[in-house]
């Protein structure tokens, strides 16, 4: 019982901010200040808050959601294409440079990418890619944690004897990967896709540096622009005539975090499996 009480008490600490945020769009800005911290307003307020958000730059919000989905899909797809074969090769083959690749991957997992953003910008400019979606998609597709997950998966779930049997039958190494390795990769794909998606979706700094034009913004970047433009978070900025205040900001925040939470629920099963031997990147 005390065990449950402890878990529930901690749960209250973690859940209250979200409860507030879910309730906020149902209320008005002055009820958030004047009313009790947690109270339900009305569904109609949510609808009007959404309408107010869409009034910003002719519904630009929808475009940002589209951009974010596009960048995330492309980046996660690339991550999978890179990390599944790489993880397989690292787990099942011994080759010159293997140790170096693994060690660099592990270092990359632990070190935050933010430190590299400025040099990345210069690199992207040299390639003529800044301002294009590729400047966001490509650097984020380099996701060492994904490689590490794939590596762990193949190391534990694919016995070397199966591959040896295939080799005796005369199958080439690529063929072995396609016919034996790939079909076994399904659980790893789920995990890598989840962590990769969260990594791309919540990333702010890289698109902030790379993108200039509001039409190419990600949702996170666009929301910063929208919320700062309207004084919804800080009344001293923006001076917009738009009716965007705290309830709208909370609603926008929910829209931005919903995909992460949905991905978590979808990935629940994969997350529970024991193969999650690594860690999310900090």
């Amino acid at each position: 019982m005390t065990r449950r009480a402890f878990l529930a008490l901690a749960g209250v600490f973690f859940v209250l901010p979200l409860v507030w945020m879910v309730l906020a769009p149902t209320r008005t800005a002055d009820s958030l200040i004047g009313g009790p911290p947690l109270a339900f307003g009305s569904i109609a307020n949510v609808a009007s808050a959404w309408g107010n958000l869409m009034a910003y730059n002719d519904g630009e919000l929808a475009g940002w959601i589209g951009n974010s989905v596009g960048y995330a899909a492309a980046s996660v797809a690339l991550t999978l294409l890179l990390s599944i074969p790489a993880g397989y090769a690292l787990a099942k083959h011994d080759f010159a440079g293997r140790r170096a690749v693994l060690t660099l991957t592990l270092i990359g997992m632990i070190l935050p990418q933010t430190a590299l953003v400025l040099p990345l910008y210069l690199e992207m400019t040299a390639a003529g890619l800044t301002g294009t979606p590729w400047s966001v998609i490509l650097p984020l597709a380099f996701y060492p944690f994904g490689v590490y997950l794939a590596y762990l998966h193949f190391a534990s779930a694919l016995p070397g004897a199966i591959l040896d049997a295939g080799r005796v039958d005369g199958a080439g190494e690529l063929r072995l990967f396609l016919t034996i390795g790939l079909p076994l990769a399904r659980p790893a794909i789920g995990l890598i896709a989840f962590f990769g998606f969260v990594n791309v979706w919540t990333n702010f700094f890289l698109p902030f540096v790379m993108l200039d034009d509001d039409r190419t913004f990600t949702l996170q970047l666009g929301l910063m622009s929208l919320l700062q433009s309207t004084g919804a978070v800080n009344a001293s900025s923006g001076f917009s005539s738009l009716n965007i205040h705290q309830p709208e900001a909370a609603l926008a925040g929910l829209v931005a975090c919903a995909p992460t939470l949905a991905a978590f629920l979808v990935a629940q099963r994969a997350l529970r499996t024991g193969m999650l031997a690594g860690a999310e990147k900090g």
């Binding site: 899909a73 294009t132 998609i137 790939l182 910063m224 001293s236």
Partner: protein
């Protein structure tokens, strides 16, 4: 599983087609960066001048955003906007100086310059050259709740001495009510800048005058000392939810603050009922002929040094954006352009939210900006160091005057590391 992989490859192919439609700056294009509030006007201008090929981008009005982007563009030698709006006007000083070297000195006819409120363009002049045109002004006025003042039987203070007396009476007679607040830029800009305390007096792009020991600083410290002690002047930021709560509870008797507080703080955040808010000029100091205003905000337009042959078109555009009366009359905050301010004031005068027309007080405030409030590169530290020294002293119950040397040394350090010679 192969089908999954094939699907991924297909998806990437499709996305690459979409992504290649990315936006590159075409040659001969006039690239304009404005915040959301200015976007409609910029697009209107673009539509009326199709030959100029103007591209309008809505940027986040975050402090530091424009210097960040210019710094990156400098590093790669391309990508600068030709025209940019600064919601944080002090950034002009960063953009005009080395190593940024981005803001172009502007050739503006004297007739246009003179059409701005006297003193409005002063901070844009750095080292004798004009680097920006001011869109709006944020002079401070004394906002007050006319109903409460009447109920309590107080006169609107004309001098700082009277202001102090009312504060002490409020603390005795109506504890919990406020006659002001000082926090960050609202403390330094409203109180100390209006008093003429030299904390950011830019002499040129590389020289600044700072002297927190000046009598203009100590007199404000002495004035605020008892008010901070009896809590009639708060240290909570006006944008803090706790302050909004005080506002909604009707606890704000007076609040010296910038011109935009009426429409953007009292109206939406404090939900003050109509017919209660009024504006008066700031209190005056004994021995001075008139009241002076501090400043908190006010945007500016800047033109890029890299605009090349587009420079003239860029200057024309920012001239229109800042001086077109029809446009400026509709803008949310007090126009820097005089004729526009007149037109803007006419619309505001009939606003039923105010107990009395606030425009005369705003206009007087705009015409009485305290000189010496320059655009400096250490703006962020100017704000945060006020809290780290003066507010920290108030919180700890120590004398404000005693915190001034500490403020001085932090400002001096910041100014020096920002490339200024401090005098």
């Amino acid at each position: 599983m192969r089908r999954v992989m094939a699907g991924i490859v297909l998806l990437l192919g499709l996305l690459s087609m979409v992504a290649c439609g990315g936006t590159h700056k075409g040659s001969g294009e006039l690239l304009v960066w404005v915040d959301n509030t200015r976007t409609a006007a910029a697009k209107q201008y673009a539509a009326a001048h199709k030959d100029l090929n103007i591209r309008v981008v809505t940027m986040p009005p975050d402090a530091g955003y424009v210097p960040t982007k210019v710094s990156l563009a400098n590093k790669t030698g391309k990508g600068w906007p030709d025209v940019v709006f600064l919601t944080n006007p002090a950034e002009v000083s960063t953009l005009a100086a080395a190593p940024f070297d981005y803001a172009a000195p502007l050739e503006i006819p004297a007739s246009v310059r003179d059409s701005f409120t006297p003193g409005a363009l002063d901070p844009c002049v750095l080292g004798g050259r004009l680097y920006c045109l001011r869109n709006d002004l944020a002079p401070t006025v004394l906002w007050y709740d006319a109903k409460l003042m009447k109920d309590f039987g107080y006169e609107v203070p004309k001098t700082w001495a009277q202001y102090q007396q009312i504060g002490e009476r409020v603390a005795r007679e109506h504890p919990g009510y406020l006659i002001g607040t000082m926090n960050g830029k609202y403390g330094a800009g409203v109180y100390f800048a209006s008093s003429g305390c030299p904390t950011r007096q830019a002499v040129s792009l590389t020289e600044v005058h700072i002297n927190a020991a000046d009598q203009a600083c100590t007199r404000m410290a002495d004035l605020l000392q008892p008010l901070a002690a009896d809590k009639s002047v708060s240290t909570i930021s006006p944008t803090d939810p706790a302050f909004a709560k005080l506002g909604q509870d009707g606890k704000i008797l007076m609040l010296p603050g910038p011109a935009w507080f009426g429409d953007f703080i009292f109206k939406p955040a404090f939900k003050l009922p109509p017919g209660r808010l009024a504006a008066a000029p700031m209190p005056a100091w004994d021995g001075e002929d008139k009241p002076y205003s501090g400043q908190v905000g006010g945007g500016v337009f800047v033109v890029s040094k890299h605009a090349g042959e587009r420079t003239k078109a860029a200057v024309d555009m920012i001239t229109w954006m800042t001086t077109d009366v029809a446009l400026q009359a509709k803008q949310p905050t007090f126009p820097a352009h005089q004729a526009s301010a007149e037109a803007w004031g006419k619309a505001k005068a009939s606003d039923g939210f105010y107990a009395a027309d606030p425009v005369p007080a705003l206009k007087q405030a705009a015409a009485s900006l305290r000189p010496g409030f320059g655009f400096v590169r250490y703006e962020a530290v100017w704000q945060s160091s006020f809290n780290e020294t003066v507010i920290a002293a108030v919180t700890a119950g120590k004398p404000i005057a005693g915190a001034l040397p500490d403020w001085q040394s932090r400002l001096t350090q910041a100014a020096t590391s920002a490339g200024y010679t401090v005098k």
